[in-house]
Symmetry: C2
Subunit: 422 residues, 2 copies
């Protein structure tokens, strides 16, 4: 008997039939005695349909001055979802009431299309829960202090659900999605990949930012900050499996570093094929050179990921970094025309055919030799490492993209991730 938050994605809400299944699942939890709050996304395709209409009307859609109106339009997708889900719940014999973001209210700043939640008033929701109602709250949206509707950006419903769970001090926030949990790596690449029963927030942050696109990264940060236990699980399991079975399925993203977590040194292998590498060869090694190179790149709104500066040689050094592959051409142009000449670089070279592979594990903090084990595994496969970047709980290497699958499989095997840790 606990307060539980469920979040359902757009695919789970994609048709009347699917909404009915969501309602049956929530009703099962409610009948088991739990206080239920449900945060659905817009029906799949709806947000794109609405934005498509807006784009037909103005070439300026995307520029800040239209963002308030875009949020006005986009927020209706989730508003429809909550109304429909409340109706479906009542058809299942469960009392239910729906709320938009402003009705709760979910207070945000005024950054239209990418607003940040500032506070959530739980008074009304708590009263409904106490009265035995299931409360259905529109995800993705909020309201600023001038009563303007705001949205949190793509995937914002995850953040809404976690923020609501935090405000209500929910026992758990269950994110129902189209995958059944977080895996040691992508099963399409490594068939032996194993679903993790538990993963720490820190690991999840690394896995998410490295391309395992399961949860919006902001929602994981939020969950970590407010210590909300978060579970990723599938909305495609039959709705009528037992609560116990369901409560143990998926992957729990936990803030408790229990002993079990310590057992596995590496939890998973993440990878990212969306990067490109650029290098300035032979730049003078003097103070301020990094800023001189990266400042103009940042000014051009290009996100930088891995940065490597080699030790200098004859007063010259080589400086490399990676950017998103979409920004590759723009970055090369910037370096060749502006930054290269300004820094007296001997040469600018680039390569868009690279990828990044990372081992992630909270156990790396207290275990030595993890990185060297990684390098040995790659070397045994004859894979050349172009760049290395490390943090407390992950080690990333940049390699030729043609070796990506090979590298992921070799590392998965080397760290015995197919085995349940004992």
């Amino acid at each position: 008997m606990a307060l539980i938050v469920h979040k359902y994605g757009g695919t789970s809400m994609g048709s009347a039939e699917r909404i009915r299944n969501v309602a049956k699942r929530v009703a099962k939890w409610a009948r088991a005695g739990h206080q239920m709050v449900v945060v659905p996304s817009a029906m799949s395709g709806e947000t794109n349909r609405l934005l498509g209409l807006a784009k037909e009307l103005s070439p300026a859609v995307g520029s800040p001055e239209l963002n308030r109106e875009l949020d006005m339009i986009a927020a209706t997708g989730e508003q429809v979802s909550v109304g429909l889900l409340a109706i479906a719940l009542q058809a299942e014999g469960v009392e239910a009431v729906s709320y938009t973001g402003w009705q709760v209210p979910v207070a945000t700043d005024s950054s239209f299309t990418k607003a940040r939640i500032e506070s959530i008033d739980d008074t009304r929701v708590r009263a409904d829960l106490a009265a035995g109602k299931v409360v259905v709250i529109a995800g993705f949206q909020g309201v600023d202090e001038d009563k303007n509707i705001t949205t949190l950006g793509r995937g914002g419903s995850d953040t809404s659900a976690v923020a609501i769970a935090a405000a209500l001090k929910a026992a758990e926030c269950l994110i129902y999605t189209d995958v059944d949990g977080v895996y040691t790596t992508d099963p399409r690449i490594v068939p032996e990949a194993r679903r993790l029963h538990t993963i720490s927030f820190e690991e999840m942050l690394e896995m998410a930012s490295l391309g395992s696109k399961i949860l919006q990264i902001r929602s994981v940060e939020f969950a970590g900050k407010y210590r909300v236990p978060l579970r990723v699980l599938s909305s495609f399991t039959p709705w009528d499996i037992s609560i116990e079975e369901e409560a143990k399925s998926g992957t729990l993203i936990s803030f408790e570093e229990d002993e079990k977590m310590e057992q596995a040194v590496v939890s998973g292998i993440a990878f990212n094929r969306d990067e490109a590498k650029v290098t300035l060869l032979g730049v003078p090694d003097k103070p301020g050179i990094a800023f001189q190179i990266l400042g103009p790149v940042a000014d051009a709104n290009i996100d930088i990921d891995v940065i490597i500066q080699n030790v200098s040689h004859d007063g010259k050094t080589d400086f490399s970094f990676t950017v998103h592959r979409n920004d590759y051409a723009r970055t090369m142009e910037l370096l060749e025309k502006t930054v290269g000449p300004a820094t007296q670089a001997a040469k600018v070279v680039g390569d868009a055919r690279i990828c990044k592979v990372s081992i992630v594990g909270i156990g790396m903090r207290s275990h030595v030799g993890v990185a060297s084990k990684m390098f040995r595994a790659l070397s045994e496969e004859g894979i050349n490492i172009q760049m290395i970047s490390t943090s407390e709980i992950k080690t990333s290497v940049v390699i030729d993209e043609k070796y990506m699958e090979l590298a992921v499989r070799a590392l998965h095997r080397a760290f015995e991730l197919e085995q349940i840790p004992t």
Copy 2:
């Protein structure tokens, strides 16, 4: 340079192309120096699509306990429209801002799906108008004192527009629709039917309630109560005709009874084929008999229109009334099984093949002989009058439905409605 309210129906908002035309028309008025408030309906088909989804989820849609959720869903149609129209206006180079009902706020009671407007706060709208912005407000919706979203019922956007015009003391409220005004009668029946340049509120009320479905009747009552000049005009005229030309098109529904209005005795011919007639023959003529008959009918939620009780004869009388044709079978059953026996009626008879034809005109107040001219015209065509009902500004007759077109044409001719009054 005046404060003007425009209202656009769902057909006018039916596609990106049509919304662009609405924006061009509004921009023209704004550029002419007018302060503009625009109230659009949902894109045509949208409200039905949303309600269709709700009906798929619950057989109970339509029962009061789901109405709050239906309003939550239905209100999104207009919310999308205001956002899109604001974007289209900005693409035309006109500053614009959109509001939902709750943002204004448009305060209503809590009668979900058929709420009534209680007050409108004009502070925010006035500030925007003063700043030179076009204000786009969602029609059809409001908010109750508990911050629940309400809707005003079908056609409620007309009422929203008039209420907003009243609150802002607008110079005129222009209702853009798919007809170009109010006609002396339906031009499909009488090709000579003439568009009225002006009609009084009282006449419009009678014309609307009698089946000329141009404006929601509640909006006309509202306009009359708050003395808002209302104009019905076509949204299909080219958007770039001159303001002067447009301001004179359509039909003005006026509260000023100027001399011009006095000139025409009869303004129009209304008709209604949706009625059925029932008669209790030979009921004892005693006090309370009308209530004894009509009480149970009203209790069964059957609306009654024309009621006739003939003078009594040997202590017995015949009692007739008309109901909507959809209620005919139910009414007959009620009379035959319950009311007839209870009132000791000799017989119950009914006829669903009738129609009602009415002449409407504010001039009837001060002119005698109008009704008799009507009866003579019908008699000359050999049309038998089954029931007669009169009010200050209209006279209605119930006749065999097969004579409806003939009657309408004869009356249109008899009162010379094809002529512009001199």
